[in-house]
Amino acid sequence: MASFWEYANPLKFMRTTDWLLPVVAWAAVIVTAVGLIWGFFFTPDDFRQGSTVKIIFLHVPSALMAINAWIMMLVASLIWLIRRHHVSALAAKAAAPVGVIMTLIGLITGAVWGQPMWGTWWAWDPRLTSFLILFLFYLGYIALWAAIDDPDTAADLTAVLCLVGSVFALLSRYAAFFWSQGLHQGASLSLAPGTRIDWAYKAPLYISMTGFGLIFLALVIAGTRTEIRARRMKALVARERMA
């Protein structure tokens, strides 16, 4: 049994993902398509929310992946700081744009859902607010990666930012809940989908969640492969210049 850490070897990673990426990518397309088509075409309307309930199949999976992407970046950053595996740092870099888009989808579907339900596109609901804040954290992280030339320095600095940012993102989330409850009294605008969800909704929802997870995985693998090549390109150019 090969050690898990062997996959942190860039060559091994490239060889493995050569066949793994198409598999994951097709699985992602198929599972997501099944989940969303089921959700869009074959679910009944909710007696209270009408057909807007169908937005749940986009909203919940994307929100879930938006948070998971950040957690994955956090873990990858820790691995980079402790074990200095380049692939880990590059995977964190590749995950950030995917996380941004997931956050954006979560926000937009939330707004579109909120409009008919609450009569407004935007509400400073604690959940929406903390997602907006998460979006800002993603932007900062990506901007820092883009600003630094030296790849190892960039990896180090963004990893530390990710660690510190995680703590503050968590604090911001508590702050948002505290603040909004302080003003609005109670969670009348909460997005929590009713306490009892019928299996008619649950089944496509779980499939969509799996699909979004696979989409995330496929895009991160593809992105990491690109970052590994870009990193190698940089190293070769530096080598050329020295020789």
Binding site: N9, P10, L11, M14, H86, D150, P151, D152, I228, R231, R232, A235, A238, R239, M242, A243
Partner: protein
Amino acid sequence: MTLHVHDLTCARGGLPVLEGVSFTLAPGEALILRGPNGCGKTTLLRTIAGLQPSIAGEIEAPSDSIAYAAHADGIKAVLSVTENLQFWAETFGTASVEAAIDQMNLRALATRPAQTLSAGQKRRLGLARLLVTGRPIWALDEPTVSLDTDSVALFAGVVRAHLEQGGMALIATHINLGLPEAHVLDLSAYKARLPEEGAGGFDEAFL
């Protein structure tokens, strides 16, 4: 009290530039580092000063014994010459700046704000800072940039006085300092070979 560097490999931007650098510096000795631009003189000095980690090898020196001086002098323009020196003296825990002011011939300028100094005068102030650190090993990166011949001679005299008191100096420079007793180390002999491709190293794709 010696500075002992053994089989040192240091890197710039993730790529090794120098490898196998070994030398010993005993009290009273100076070592001049030579080599073409970009050969890693600055990298070596920064590594020895502890500003960046080495890739391999050992640097043996008593802790807090190295004073590093780079191209930039770390001078604050709005502070006077004395204030500048006093700050570094207090930071390094040494008492007096008067001796340093006299040695670098800065007495007449002592109360002038540093922004009114000429480039050469600033450089002298930067070197006076070395004196107030009270540290035995000096690691100097191009210390004579923008000094005129007289000032270079003055500088050589200061280094010599430092050596006579049992100090050590490690100097990267292009010009002749007038320190005939100093040893010379040509760094182009230690240029790092790039790792072989396909050698199977863990991160070989990046080297």
